[in-house]
Symmetry: C2
Subunit: 231 residues, 2 copies
Amino acid sequence: MQTVLATAGLAPVFATALLNEGVAQAPSIRAGAELRGGMRRTYEADAEIFAEGDRAATFYKVVTGVVRTYKLLSDGRRQIDAFHLPGDIFGVEAGEEHRFNAEAVTETKLAVHRREPHALSGDDGTLAREVVAAMMRSLERAQDHMLLLGRKSAKERIATFLLGLSRRMASRGAAIELPMSRADMADHLGLTVESVSRAVTQLEREGLIELPPNRRAVVLRDVRALNHLAG
Amino acid sequence: MQTVLATAGLAPVFATALLNEGVAQAPSIRAGAELRGGMRRTYEADAEIFAEGDRAATFYKVVTGVVRTYKLLSDGRRQIDAFHLPGDIFGVEAGEEHRFNAEAVTETKLAVHRREPHALSGDDGTLAREVVAAMMRSLERAQDHMLLLGRKSAKERIATFLLGLSRRMASRGAAIELPMSRADMADHLGLTVESVSRAVTQLEREGLIELPPNRRAVVLRDVRALNHLAG
DNA sequence: CGTCTGTTTGACGTAGCTCAAGGAGTGTGG
DNA sequence: CCACACTCCTTGAGCTACGTCAAACAGACG
């Protein structure tokens, strides 16, 4: 009971709990790493983790790497609802089936958890609490993202995205690696590849960000201005 | 424990549980209607229920009426993340503060619940389970809505919106009352009032829907075609 | 009956999309 | 170690769906 009460009562702690966890976690509890940490599985870049309509027997926690979850329209239009970084939980469903597709963005290591209750009953329900906290966090991110998709300009979207990524990745300084392609960014931000590219270039020209020659990383030069843009 | 296990284990039942409840609910348990049903409060149309930044001491369940929750950008751009119909729970937060504004769309009656754990401990944690289920449902709706905002055309958005509303309101036949203004629809669908109006008119001209003279209700004439449009 | 507010319609502007081509980094085979 | 090929990113030129601005229209209500 305690657990769900906390959920409905909502200790703010939970919301951020799993962020501070990341890869590191005590793996040696009586029941073994399988329970506490779940079974490990590795995926190479672009490998499918699950597809929409698959039976949702398991959910996942990112150990290393990055995952994208997305929906498709019948004609192929794609919306990436989220990128999942180390420590993030994804694939939790209310119903029987996965409502998304999930793929590795980079080579990725996941902890796999069965969704059956008994598999979660390890000690005091730490994982269960974590799952609820993760749902809560997903919801908050989704809500912020709706504001972005519904009301922000391309430049504002990029600024928001980069700031969010920077906050979530334990980035050294203000430099962020971009693990995903422009196409992934586009399908996350509700834009086209070209619009993403142009907005990035524009922010660069205005001196708010800086990119290396291979364009797969970003240095946030003017966080203040970016924050202002992000709204 | 049972409760949260169910959450992480995810009986599909929960997801739809509160939809079938609506206004009716057994109010007479030992502890009184206050616990089971929460304290009642009434709001007139456009009345503020809470604002972003307000201390989130309570959450709410719609008894009758409709509520909009929304975020604002500093320059006034608004994104309505959801409309809440009878039976829906809203205002649940992970942190200390509300992250949204909430207003009554029509005259609205709400059940108010304190978020303190002990207030939820009535019998077997029914309400707590309901809250978690509500979160799950919000998340699913938010995810679907991101696809809409990121990738659908104006006409597709309207079609999706009307179908969703029709499913959620226990509508007699295919007729739906539209409790919200075009401005509210626009700020929910990431469009302008004019674009909403034009898309509605167009669907009407194509014979997919039909509107009464006052334009505040819709009959879905061709659900098949609407579904096809909605993707 | 007149005012008020929300909806529709029209004319025009533009942010972002489409289509197309040209770099540039990375990886492979000789 | 170089050359070629592949992929991804950028840039350019025009197009279009939707936004903006403005006005007319129509229920609703006093």
